[in-house]
């Protein structure tokens, strides 16, 4: 770690600031999964929106909230959800993707 010293002011430009370290890894993993979940919720919402728009609804937002996926949409959602998760987990664990 570079010790910052006013006699070398440009060292302040890109200080080697310590941030996360090994003990943060667990929390980092948890945050990653929380983020994955949020991404998922949005992905799901967009798929539902396309579906609802295709049905030419008027109050789209209320319709999306109330929309209960039929078995076909649910299985497409399930497939996409599992794929999203697998992408993140496989990267995290180093499992090769096919």
């Amino acid at each position: 770690m570079t010790i910052l010293d006013p006699s070398n002011p440009t060292a302040y430009n890109h200080p080697a600031r310590p941030t996360l370290n090994e003990v943060d890894t667990g929390a980092l993993g948890a945050a990653l999964l929380a983020l994955t979940k949020e991404v998922w919720v949005l992905t799901d919402r967009m798929m539902v929106m396309e579906e609802v728009l295709a049905q030419r609804g008027i109050d789209i937002s209320a319709q999306i909230d109330a929309h209960q996926p039929d078995p076909d949409l649910q299985s497409r959602l399930n497939a996409r959800g599992a794929k999203l998760v697998a992408g993140v987990l496989d990267a995290l664990s180093g499992v090769a993707r096919d």
């Binding site: 667990g26 993993g29 948890a30 999964l33 929380a34 994955t36 979940k37 998922w40 919720v41 799901d44 919402r45 539902v48 999306i64 909230d65 109330a66 929309h67 209960q68 959602l77 399930n78 959800g81 599992a82 794929k83 999203l84 998760v85 697998a86 993140v88 987990l89 496989d90 995290l92 664990s93 180093g94 499992v95 993707r97």
Partner: protein, 347 residues
Amino acid sequence: MTSKLDAVLHQRGRAGVDFVVHLARGASGLKAAAAADLAAAVPDPAALPDDMDRRHAHMAQALGGSRANRVSQLVGEWHAQMHGLLAREAYEEIREAVDPVLAQAQADGPCTLEPATGPMPSYWQGVHFHRTAGGWDEHPMQGYIHGEIIHKRLVEALYPGGIFKQRREIAARAPRDHYARILDMGASTGHFTHALQEVYPDAQIVGVDWSLRALEHAQRVANTHGWAWQLYQRGAEATGFDDASFDLVGSYILLHEIPADIIRATFAEAFRVLKPGGDMIMSDVTRYADMDKLGQWKADAGALWGGEPFWRESASLDLAQVAREAGFVDVTASGIYPHVVQGRKPA
């Protein structure tokens, strides 16, 4: 079959709950990699330490180098912490619509519920079983959240086949075709109670559980069907009911949530409240005696990280032996999951 109690979730809550299912399914590649590392790390399960705590230490060492196992732990930990909270979020999103329906279902109908007057036992109070945030009774609608959202949406998706099917099969194993009075110990939100009532439609059913929130939901379920269950917030080990007042006493997946001495007391209590000639049927999780050392370690790790403080001592018990000690005769115990013990009080 649809019911007015079915949780009709909004998009955000529904997708959040579904994510827990996607997390489990999307982890299949990871799980395969973790399993391969595990098999390589433990070529001979029989050589694992006998003592379970030492076995955990040994396994931690043996798997320390497996990144797939570390990530697997992360997924398990996230599931444990989040599944209850996501289900709770899904409920919060629909509460305005659902609360009046729930209040009415609880108030209107033949089912009665008597709350406890004394304190809850220390083995139950404040324990977050299943790692459910706040435990069984913290959230005012925990019964609904657990019974309708976690069970019907999550458990059903992860273990398809219908949560009632297995319960009905077990209920139907009791030897007689008719029972006048049945006691369901650890009735919770009424899933086994429901199965018992379907299999024995004429029976008067009484249920006990320590969780008032769960019983409140059982009351809604019973009222919705027009069933006159009598529910009490009481322990299975000391129900306060009269001697010889039931024809059948049953429980479904209750025992692993209680300490061994309370399990013994529960069998003794079942014996006491049964009429002579009455039947007992209790189902619980897989016995450690039916697994190899590696299987036991997996179950024990699941319990350790899954909010199950009494699983080890409970799953280590020989339930047939416990039933005989309580006085039951013609005792049988069979099945891997659920493990079912049956017996009869001598006539």
